[in-house]
């Protein structure tokens, strides 16, 4: 058992459902108790989705437990097959129903006999994998299934497209700014004269998966979702993978050069150097910002970075290489892929932290006292408490990560957005100087964090000791009431006696 106050990555079935419901005309059946289907709420509310989430729960209740769930699950699959004619129905258990150790593959086989569409069991260990790993695994499983199916039917397309083309892998619903990133990558590919073969899973049809081998290369912008699929396609068809996340000006250029290399290896002759130069120097504002007077004061400021592998590694590099900011700690919650992260940020930061425990990160932030944090919603809360600004750069997703306006993190427009994020996170320029000269906007005591002006009061040692015996969650209240009592009576030092007197005066 683990005492947990916060989770950076969701449970496995969320990852599976993110992939399944990203595809067009794919339905997922959750074999789960009532209330486990909050994925529908998240998708409907966060994505402001206009369509019903294509996920149905086959409810496991006491009766189903007693009778066995096979019939109910099979019925629900075949029913959905008839109601909505999906191309594919994905069955997934949750942490709870996976303990029942039922032969779900058997349920699927039986349902397949009566269904027009395909039926697949998402094969994930719900206690070993988290949301991110499960999404990666499910995408690979679906791709593998349809490649095998096409191969069997003989309509697998392995001929390369005439023009250079790309599969963009890893765009999915409920991803961190994923839909904006997708649009940015499409336009980047258009600029480079590369046609889009497919984008998976978001908006793709499973029927299109048989054309995956036609692409000249696979682009995997996120380390967390898509690597397994790319590796599979590389092993099967030799399709090269470009896995450089195009985040920030430097890494975007590196990504484009990697694309150039794989295209030229396949007989194209492209030269993107001019494009990169043009974008870097004249189109994107990010490189100019780094050289502007605005950014000068950022030099040497301390920052802490924490997030998923992709965003935390990319952000660390941007801060250090593009803005001259000192990253005192870079961390990730992707424990399962820690080696990659260490290797990516090596030399860019003083300290590396690999942890899923929010308290550990909070303590590190308190100890390091950075000028800004770039982290998740949790670090934003920590920042609020410590009065340190925080820019949110990674999931867990929040309604704020689904802005109506265009806010990509990738590509050249993404680089602009990062500049805004960094700029708005630090106190800069004149503001910084004024703070230094006049000692801040207000004189709030940042150590105690309370609202009472207690400059004229002091607590004696025994008074404090008594105060500390009072349960933590009411201590603040008791403290305030006692201080009010003392102030009313012009008592300057609060001893244990005063504390008790305050208590008695109310009791009387």
């Amino acid at each position: 058992m683990k005492l947990a106050y916060w989770m950076y990555a969701g449970p496995a079935h969320i990852g599976t459902l993110r992939v399944a419901s990203s595809f067009k005309n794919v339905h997922a059946i959750m074999h789960a108790p009532l209330g486990d289907d909050y994925f529908n709420v998240m998708r409907s509310m966060l994505e402001r989705e206009r369509d019903f989430t294509p996920v149905t729960t086959s409810v496991v209740d006491r009766n189903v437990l007693a009778r066995g769930s096979q019939e109910k699950v099979v019925d629900n699959i075949t029913r959905k097959d008839q109601e909505e004619h999906p191309d594919l129905i994905v069955l997934t258990p949750t942490c709870t129903s996976s303990i029942l150790q039922e032969d779900l593959q058997n349920f699927v086989d039986r349902a397949q006999l009566e269904s027009q569409g395909d039926v697949l069991l998402a094969d994930v260990n719900h206690y070993r994998y988290n949301e991110l790993q499960a999404s990666d695994r499910t995408l690979q499983q679906i791709v593998q299934y349809y490649i095998a199916k096409a191969r069997k039917k003989g309509d697998l397309r392995t001929d390369k497209t005439e023009q250079p083309s790309v599969n963009i892998i890893g765009m999915s619903t409920l991803g961190f700014h994923s839909n904006h990133d997708c649009r940015e990558l499409r336009s980047l590919m258009a600029d480079l004269g590369i046609t889009i073969n497919t984008v998976i899973p978001e908006g793709a049809s499973v029927q299109d998966l048989k054309t995956l081998p036609r692409a000249w290369f696979n682009l995997v912008p996120y380390r967390e979702l898509g690597m397994m699929t790319a590796e599979f396609l590389q092993a099967e068809f030799g399709t090269p993978t470009v896995d450089v996340t195009p985040m920030g000006v430097v890494e975007t250029a590196r990504c484009i050069r990697a694309i150039q290399t794989v295209l030229n290896q396949q007989g194209a002759s492209v030269d993107y150097d001019h494009y990169i130069d043009e974008q870097t120097r004249f189109v994107s504002q990010a490189a100019w910002f780094s050289r502007s007077i605005d950014c000068q004061n950022l030099t040497g400021k301390k920052a802490v970075v924490f997030g998923d592998n992709t965003h935390a590694a990319a952000m660390t590099k941007i801060l250090v290489r593009e803005m001259g900011i000192k990253v005192v700690l870079a961390g990730t919650y992707c424990k399962y892929d820690a080696d990659w992260f260490r290797q990516q940020v090596e030399g860019y930061c003083d300290e590396v932290l690999i942890s899923e425990d929010n308290a550990e990160i909070a303590n590190a932030i308190a100890r390091l006292e950075p000028a800004a944090i770039f982290g998740t919603q949790m670090e934003r809360h920590v920042g609020k408490r410590l009065d340190i600004p925080c820019g949110v750069i990674a999931s867990p997703i929040h309604i704020q990560n689904f802005p109506v306006g265009y806010k990509p993190f990738l590509g050249y427009e993404g680089a602009n957005q990062m500049v805004d994020l960094v700029y708005n996170s630090f106190t800069l320029g004149m503001e910084d100087h004024l703070l230094e000269i006049f000692g801040g906007h207000d004189t709030k005591d940042v150590i105690t964090k309370d609202m009472s002006a207690n400059a004229d009061l002091s607590w004696s040692k025994d008074g404090l000791a008594e105060l500390n015996k009072i349960p933590g969650f009411v201590r603040g209240k008791v403290k305030r009431n006692t201080e009010k009592f003392a102030r009313d009576r012009q008592i300057e030092s609060i001893t244990a006696e005063v504390l008790y007197a305050a208590k008695e005066s109310v009791g009387a």
């Binding site: 058992m1 289907d37 349960p471």
Partner: protein, 469 residues
């Protein structure tokens, strides 16, 4: 609970669809109970799925000083390689060290049910060892829906209520001294306890978790009739649980507390007052009247009080009259809300509800029937455990003016031109009593007012013409 008269022209029609429906998990009760019971700590013993739900779907984020946490079950716990007792002891000791609460509430989940973790067996032993009361509630989705989670917690807490009042005044004062210190500077108590205001009657305890201002409002409503509320389950603090003597009267304020009611009757030998629920002025009045009748009190001034509330809501009622509302079913408040909205002049074709206890909700159902009769509208069809897919087909056919639904279906229905209101808003808003009736209508009319504000623009014409800015 008696059936009043036999001259009902039609009986209510109950169906159980046993379909695939969406509602929140019962562990969500943690979100409001930890705030209500100020000295508590809630430990949800479950999987990542449970934790992520509380964190992301319920939006209960962990701020500065959390008073609930997950005991996240890992592979070793599931496969019984680890000892449940030692694991829970380790966690509870840490909670005691870090937070020092007056009570730890263990919330069992589907997973603890399936692996048959004996929480009730472990708790007393651990309680003795660490010296903090441990209350065990099985708020699992296998047996319960959404708000029923509160029912499991209150039923468990009912066992912890003292059966005798504190012997002496000093003892009483000692027990309350911390509270007094906390309330120092504030007015002692909103409802003052001048004995002469009350009629002599057996003790009455109300059960159901309501925000403190509503507790005060309802307590005052009863005080006007000379009825003294001896306590509430739950109280603001675990240390102030109400005294339950054998023969005490108890009355619920929420329709989803059937298990608590049963526990109070069977285990604590209390007498249950089966009344409609104090939701809407009609329900509140019926609730007060029923309590008065049990104590042989002639209620005073209720006519004027109710009429005043109705008159004050006329602007909202105009919007609602003749309109129809469809309840997809989510929080078990459906019957009470439907009854109130019918009284407002609406029609209700269907009430979906996750679970229907016809005995505990008996008086409410009776009032629903009576209301339909008096308003001259057809009785709603009550569908237990509805199938959401089938319901949506019915909604397409019926074209109701308003659908009260869970969060998962709201945006898609709106996109199809159907007005919706989230059912959870009624769970979290203050809807009980006379003065809060307006708030219910504020919620229910909002989608209708929004449409009026946008002049029924539809999707082609997206801005108002003749806007006078």
């Amino acid at each position: 609970m008696t059936v009043a008269d036999n001259q009902q022209p039609q009986a209510l029609n109950f169906e159980c669809e046993t379909g695939n429906y969406h509602t929140f998990c019962p562990i969500s009760c943690v979100a409001w109970l930890y705030q209500k019971i100020e000295d508590s700590f809630f430990l949800v013993i479950g999987t990542k799925t449970c934790g992520y739900f509380l964190q992301n779907a319920m939006g209960v984020m962990i701020f500065a000083e959390p008073r609930y946490a997950m005991a996240e079950l890992e592979e070793g716990d599931i496969s019984a390689q680890l000892n449940d007792y030692n694991e829970l002891k380790r966690l509870c000791e840490q909670i005691k060290r870090d937070r020092n609460p007056s009570v730890i509430v263990w919330i069992g989940t589907c997973t603890t049910e399936i692996i048959k973790m004996d929480l009730e067996g472990l708790a007393p032993k651990l309680e003795a060892e660490i010296g903090i009361p441990i209350v065990v509630a099985r708020a699992n989705g296998l047996d319960y829906a959404f708000t029923q989670g509160e029912d499991t917690v209150l039923a468990a807490m009912a066992h912890r209520c003292p059966s005798k009042p504190p012997e002496t005044e000093t003892e009483k004062n000692e027990r309350n001294s911390i509270q007094k210190l906390l309330n120092f500077g504030r007015k002692q108590d909103d409802v003052n306890a001048d004995e002469s205001d009350y009629v002599d009657h057996p003790p009455l305890v109300l059960f159901g978790s309501l925000p403190d201002p509503v507790v005060t409002q309802l307590t005052l409503e009863l005080k006007r009739q000379g009825i003294k509320v001896s306590g509430w389950l739950p109280a603001k603090r675990f240390t102030e649980l109400p005294v339950l003597e054998e023969g005490s009267y108890v009355c619920g304020v929420n329709p989803f507390l059937s298990r608590t009611a049963t526990t109070l009757m069977r285990r604590r030998k209390c007498k249950l007052i089966g009344a409609p629920f104090p939701i809407g002025p009609d329900g509140t009045r019926a609730w007060i009247e029923k309590i008065c009748s049990v104590f042989g009190i002639e209620p005073k001034g209720l006519d004027e009080r109710e009429a005043g509330i109705w008159a004050n809501m006329e602007d909202y009622l105009e919007l609602l009259r003749g309109k129809s509302v469809f309840f997809m079913g989510d929080n078990l408040l459906e019957v009470s809300l439907a009854r109130f909205l019918i009284r407002c002049g609406m029609t209700v074709p269907e009430i979906g509800i996750p679970y229907m206890d016809k005995r505990y909700q008996g008086a409410e159902l009776e009032l629903l029937q009576k209301t339909c009769q008096e308003m001259g509208v057809p009785l709603p069809r009550i569908v237990e455990k509805p199938d959401n897919y089938n319901q949506i087909q019915r909604i397409y056919d019926l074209k109701p003016d308003l659908v009260i639904t869970g969060m998962a279906h709201a945006n898609p229905l709106e996109a199809r031109g159907i007005n919706t209101k989230w059912s959870v808003e009624f769970t979290f808003a203050q809807i009980h009593g006379f003065s809060n009736a307006r708030d219910i209508l504020e919620l229910a009319t909002r989608p209708l007012r929004r449409n009026t504000a946008l002049k029924d623009l539809g999707w082609e014409k997206l801005v108002k013409e003749d806007a006078t800015v």
